[in-house]
Symmetry: C2
Subunit: 211 residues, 2 copies
């Protein structure tokens, strides 16, 4: 069987295939990179018209990443998908509490999801961070409550939970939050690789800046 | 904000929303569960007409899982997404070599992807196993070569790599392999949560059998 086997060739060819689907959308160069990595991660060009971000999202996230901010995720799959070596090169770490026993206990006691309890437990450590949500709408709703009611100020929220119960609503609430820079995807589609791809794209942009 | 916060309620409601999209497809009860979890993981009902599986795939995979078979994945995100506690309850483990230094060395030396080198290194331990591929078309092509040229006989291949370079071709080759039971998704869409969801669905079916 003949097929492309070299990682760099695969990536280059993939970005070439995606490019025409972004033409005419008026995206700047940085946004094109973030859109492309999201579409690449989903294998789905129909993400192009669904991606939503605030004008300042990429610049704010890049500035925070560059200065060594940490990333907080709702689930382990997002943590796994984030390029931790690259993040460490800026001085940052990824945190996830979904598997923490005390979080499980809180969730059970309060009848809420574990990822929601995890976000609540992060609390003020979310200030200045990037939050990456790829699975749980409840985690995103909780983050928005922390912003609104408890004055938490993350640098950027990459909120791309997936599914048919709450995901679309939570993402719409994120897009309308009016305070915190955000990247999201309209509707039910999303997931951990999508959230991780958006974060990784911004880290790779920093590298390009340096190069 | 009002939203459903109880994990079981979210899951039940989600499956109710997906059900009408599978009506009239002639799926048996087990296939409905696998389809539903895939669609749930992607937040995308357009997966319904794209899912392909051999008639024996679910039964073969369930029999192997029940008897304690191991699962081999192309990338860490698939490993992360698989319910390892459930798998351990049957006696199985998940293996992934993508981060193995010797695999990285082989890949570099031979100019192939790491996930392809990882599959090659698994070799005969793939016999009787379930292979779950959620990222790399090259890994799936390599598995099909191992089957064809080296007589490897996994119990079932869940091959759902994602992307625009090789993914659709590799999945079509899987669907036409004629030897090994398979579950896949036609076209460019797929990903780690999708592959993990298919595997998890089959483990949960075994639990239901026992319940």
């Amino acid at each position: 069987m003949e097929f492309i086997k070299k990682p760099m060739d695969i990536e280059t060819r993939s970005m070439e295939i995606i490019a025409p689907h972004l033409a005419g959308m008026g995206l700047d160069e940085k946004a094109v990179k973030v859109y492309s990595r999201i579409i690449h991660a989903a294998g789905d060009v129909e993400y192009a018209p669904l991606i939503r971000m605030s004008d300042d999202a990429i610049d704010k996230a890049m500035a925070s990443l560059r200065s060594g901010c940490d990333i907080y995720t709702d689930v382990e799959m997002v943590r796994t998908g984030i390029n931790k070596r690259k993040l460490a090169s800026f001085g940052g770490q990824v945190h996830c509490l979904i598997a923490d026993p005390s979080v499980a206990e809180t969730a059970k006691k309060q009848g809420i999801t574990r990822s929601m309890a995890a976000m609540r437990q992060f609390g003020r450590s979310l200030d200045g961070s990037i939050i990456a949500i790829g699975n749980a709408p409840t985690a995103l709703f909780e983050v928005l409550r922390l912003v609104e009611e408890e004055g938490i100020r993350p640098s950027c929220i990459v909120g791309i939970p997936v599914g048919f119960v709450g995901a679309a609503d939570s993402k719409q609430a994120l897009a309308e939050n009016g305070r915190i820079p955000y990247i999201t995807v309209k509707g039910t589609k999303g997931g951990s690789p999508i959230a991780a791809a958006a974060v990784n794209a911004m880290m790779y942009l920093i590298n390009n800046d340096r190069g």
